[in-house]
């Protein structure tokens, strides 16, 4: 699904990712952990296409050169980024945003666009499953949302857009236990043999709920250690220094 080869990324002449390599197969869940400033968010940004980075190396997504695909087309082709800090857009109704987004993606896939009634039915069902209060959907997009509401809204978008490759950028940070459970249930409910996840996190906590196939430790823009889900527990116990020193 995703093949990252010798990827380097710099911003304002500062090299953040250095010869980064990662392969993700369909159905796999990969967790990337690492200390602050190790390049986790840069990875999410480069994959989703945010501007401002100088990029070297190759990323192949379903056999295509991902770096050559415009941002919106990446999204239409199934790349979804759950934002670390979801953006506020005043005056834009959350439901309307979600419907516009879903229909843009459906149009790309050659599917019929959903009318308001069908869309509301869908959103009602999905938000009920995620225990998201419907009233936030009629509010302006992310405006005045609590941290938890913003993150839950990202997960709701994910479940409605049904992407192929989901990147969660520190979705767990700032969440209480209940919200964390909702987020994890959202992810787990979407888990299948075709869909892949790249979970970026600081803490092992989220991985108690979502069991990854692989855990990678990212330090200074490079993966220094890869293991199975046990590695996350080791990290929690010994810290990044402990784990990387033992290498």
């Amino acid at each position: 699904m995703l093949d990252i080869n010798n990827l380097s990324a710099s911003i304002e002449n500062k090299k953040i990712l250095k010869n980064f390599n990662l392969k993700i197969k369909p159905g796999e869940i990969h967790a990337i952990m690492g200390p602050n400033g190790s390049g986790k968010s840069t990875l999410a940004n480069v994959l989703s296409g945010r501007k401002g980075y100088e990029i070297d190396g190759k990323i192949s997504y379903e056999g295509e050169d991902l770096l050559k695909i415009p941002i919106e087309e990446r999204a239409q082709k199934g790349v979804f980024l759950a934002f670390q800090y979801p953006i506020e857009i005043p005056g834009v109704n959350t439901n309307n945003f979600l419907k516009t987004s879903l229909n843009a993606i459906r149009k790309f896939k050659g599917l019929k666009e959903l009318d308001s009634l069908d869309f509301l039915k869908l959103v009602k069902e999905k938000s009920k499953n995620l225990k998201i209060e419907e009233k936030i959907l009629s509010r302006q997009l992310n405006v005045g949302f609590s941290g938890g509401e913003k993150k839950k809204n990202e997960i709701l978008q994910m479940t409605i857009l049904e992407p192929k490759l989901v990147i969660l950028d520190e979705t767990d940070s700032g969440l209480d236990i209940d919200a964390l459970r909702i987020v994890s249930e959202g992810v787990n409910s979407l888990r299948n043999e075709k869909r892949s996840f790249l979970i970026i996190t600081h803490y092992q906590r989220l991985l108690d709920y979502i069991k990854p196939d692989f855990v990678h430790v990212l330090v200074n823009g490079k993966i220094v250690k890869t293991g199975c889900s046990d590695l996350a527990q080791e990290l929690e116990k010994d810290g990044y220094e402990g784990v990387t020193a033992a290498r």
Binding site: P70, I87, I89, T100, S101, F108
Partner: protein, 478 residues
């Protein structure tokens, strides 16, 4: 069509010209031309005298020049003041008599005039250059006592109403363009809603400039008698031409006791090309008088067209407890300029006004909000709330907010809020990441920014206006 023309048509889809034989007044501005207009409209003598009085006054007036957008000197002697399709010179009595070419023109503009296809729930008066060519739903309205007709017809058929109210809100001595209009106005709509009647449908006038080298000077007069209600909408388009064309309209509204007038404008005159060549000079005087107690006038404008927009739809709040509202979206792209806002003149007790202005600038455009809130000495407990938001796209455009506040009563309560913001890269990225392309993203964000104003538009037009907001800004984010 050639490639270039195709591209142009994409920019402004209303830019076509209708090839009709027209009758014109001789070029230039003089008494003979005014007599020509009055004569061809079969006006009574008092009307001609009124026009000539305005013309006499005009000779002593100078064009105002305090506005921000400057323009090259207009040669008023080099304009045609009357142009009408020959087929419409005798006003057709029914739609079946209207020149099919004109019906086709309005069809292309999305305004079907044929009875069987007419817009549901909206009565339309179609003004083509200097004449009204058709008015729909007339019979149904007549049953309720509502008068909705071209003003030229009202002058002949309802002289008492016209005499009483014409110029009562915008006096013929007002200022250069208003006085010019009073001298040479050609057509426009007249509306009278009788006491206690709630107009059952939207009334709408669609203005179309077609002829070249022609100024359009329309005049609209709306009177809402005691306890009545009317919602009125105007739309405007013009062909694409390299010359600048002058549009100097006067609109007067009068609301008597407990009456309400809601006036909405979707202005989409040709804005000129990407380099600022051509386009309409939209120098319009719009003023409403809340003459009766508990009356209300609400202006909503969506200004996306014109090379220069220069207008201040205003409310004179004479009646106690009267309410004035102004909701505005002014979008300027490429080299367009706008200097627009409102005046709220509080004279009566407990009068209230609300101003919501959204200015959007892109490209090399310049957008000014200019507004006056004046509280008279007798206007106890007057209230005003003003909110001016500007949105900038790119770094070559400008936004300015110039609020004037004059208060002569210590019990007044005046609030003013203003913000200036940019569409952030973050917002665009977020939308892109959800599958929206750049143009869809801009349209979504800007529509969000304008939401409070768009909500004020009649349902039928809100969707159109939303699309227009998106189209007007196409190509503005690189």
């Amino acid at each position: 069509m050639k490639q270039q023309e195709l591209e142009k048509a994409k920019e402004y889809k209303y830019g076509f010209t209708t090839d009709v034989e027209s009758i014109r007044a001789p070029k230039g501005l003089n008494e003979d031309v005014i007599k020509f207009i009055s004569n061809i409209k079969k006006e009574p003598k008092w009307m001609l005298e009124w026009r000539l009085k305005a013309y006499k006054r005009l000779k002593n007036l100078k064009e105002p020049n305090w506005q921000k957008p400057k323009y090259p000197k207009i040669n008023y002697q080099d304009l045609y003041y009357y142009s009408a399709p020959k087929s419409a010179s005798d006003k057709p009595k029914s739609l079946s008599e209207v020149d099919p070419k004109l019906i086709e023109t309005y069809k292309k503009l999305g305004i079907p005039l044929q009875e069987q296809k007419k817009l549901s729930g909206i009565a339309v008066d179609a003004v083509f250059d200097s004449v009204s060519v058709a008015t729909t739903f007339k019979d149904e309205l007549t049953k309720k006592g509502i008068i909705f007709c071209p003003i030229s017809e009202a002058i002949r058929n309802h002289p008492d109403l016209v005499k009483k109210y014409l110029g009562s809100v915008i006096p013929i001595t007002d200022h250069y363009f208003a006085t010019l209009n009073s001298a040479v106005f050609t057509d426009g709509s007249f509306v009278y809603i009788p006491e206690g009647v709630r107009c059952p449908m939207e009334l709408s006038t669609y203005f179309r400039i077609n002829a070249s080298e022609t100024g359009q000077f329309e005049r609209t007069l709306i009177i809402a008698d005691k306890g009545s209600y009317v919602s009125y909408l105007e739309g405007c388009t013009a062909p694409m031409r390299d010359e600048n064309q002058l549009h100097a309209a006067n609109v007067e509204l009068v609301a008597l006791d407990d009456a309400e007038i809601k006036y909405s404008t979707v202005q989409n005159w040709y804005p000129g090309d990407k380099d600022g060549k051509g386009g309409i000079y939209n120098f319009v005087t719009k003023r409403g008088a809340c003459r009766g107690k508990n009356s209300k006038i609400s202006w909503t404008q969506v200004e996306t067209g014109s090379a220069i927009t220069w207008k201040y739809p205003s409310c004179i709040l004479q009646g106690d407890n009267s309410v004035g509202e102004f909701y505005s979206i002014a979008i300027t792209n490429n080299h367009q300029k706008a200097d627009t806002g409102t005046k709220m003149i509080h004279l009566g007790k407990n009068t209230k006004s609300k101003i919501i202005s959204k200015g959007i600038s892109a490209g090399f455009a310049d957008n000014t909000y200019r507004g006056l809130v004046r509280i008279g000495s007798k206007a106890s407990n007057a209230r005003n709330y003003t909110q001016c938001d500007s949105l900038l796209m790119g770094n070559k455009c400008g936004a300015h907010t110039i609020p004037y506040i004059e208060n002569k009563n210590s019990s007044a309560n005046i609030e003013h809020e203003a913000t200036t913001s940019k569409i952030s890269e973050e917002q665009l990225f977020y939308c892109n990441q959800r599958g929206l392309n750049q143009e869809e993203a801009v349209s979504l964000i800007v529509n969000g920014f304008c939401k409070e104003v768009l909500q004020q538009l009649p349902m039928e037009f809100a969707v159109e206006a939303q699309k227009l907001v998106g189209i007007s800004l196409e190509g503005s984010v690189g």
